[in-house]
Chain length 81, copies 4
DNA sequence: ACGTTTGCGCTTTAGC
DNA sequence: GCTAAAGCGCAAACGT
């Protein structure tokens, strides 16, 4: 058969794309790890920095929620018409 | 003070680097998600593909572990001295 | 009130069950530690033994995963209907 | 050779003992998991219960430390002579 | 859409 | 004291 196993090839392609992306993601995780190692070497406390970042993410998230709520209300009140 | 809060600046820089990297990583996760969506749209079964990838990763990992074990044995037997 | 704080009692019971089990688990961990100490005292290399066990566990796990994958494929192909 | 591979046998024995113990430990972990599932089914909040248990462990630990400190001081002061 | 279940990242602990 | 592995908690993913 000249066409080969087309479905199998497609599957292989997908699997490889995902594995490639997963590897990239792993690389970034390693980079993050390195940054933590670096700041630790400069006498910062890793745990505290992690807490800071978590907090900032939460606040960012809360802000987005508040914004979304505002827009919902605004739409209800016809402010954007 | 012309130097500002140096430690604070350094911390801010680290935090921002980490946040940037985390964002990138998130982007890649989204890409992976997209690939799954795409293959699903092409009639592949997501769960099966995930299982394939997981299995491949495990086998890869087991192979590495086996290799490491061999080296440990070798070291024990003084093969590398 | 003759019934006492029922919910509180139930909670206390759960907490104590969990603490008891956790303690048991800790005991077993200590036993494992002792076995390693014993084999070390008999001139075995701890690191190597750990590597062996890890490898065996991985292979066992990979085998199970492979089996699960087969079954997933089978289900996809309607082999069990 | 009538004696077989003695060192190998001893190793196998150790490995099996450890694997057995590890399995038991795993079983207990599963039991704990079950308890959490059960209390969750009875409308308790898993996360809160975990927090309680952690807190109790900490307090127990703190009490032991305080006790140890007291004994150290006591010994210094010749209270137990 | 929700609840359950599994996978993944972080935290913590143990070994070196 | 640091690195690496194991256990735990969370969050996304699957099934209902």
């Amino acid at each position: 058969m000249s066409e080969g196993n087309i479905a199998g090839d497609a599957l292989r392609l997908y699997v490889e794309r995902i594995e490639r992306l997963t590897e990239e993601r792993k690389g970034i995780s390693d980079d993050i790890r390195d940054v933590y190692a670096e700041l630790k070497a400069n006498s910062f406390d890793t745990k505290t920095v992690r807490a800071c970042i978590r907090l900032r993410a939460q606040e960012r998230h809360a802000r987005q929620e508040a914004q979304a709520l505002l827009e919902t209300y605004g739409a209800q009140l016809g402010l954007f018409d």
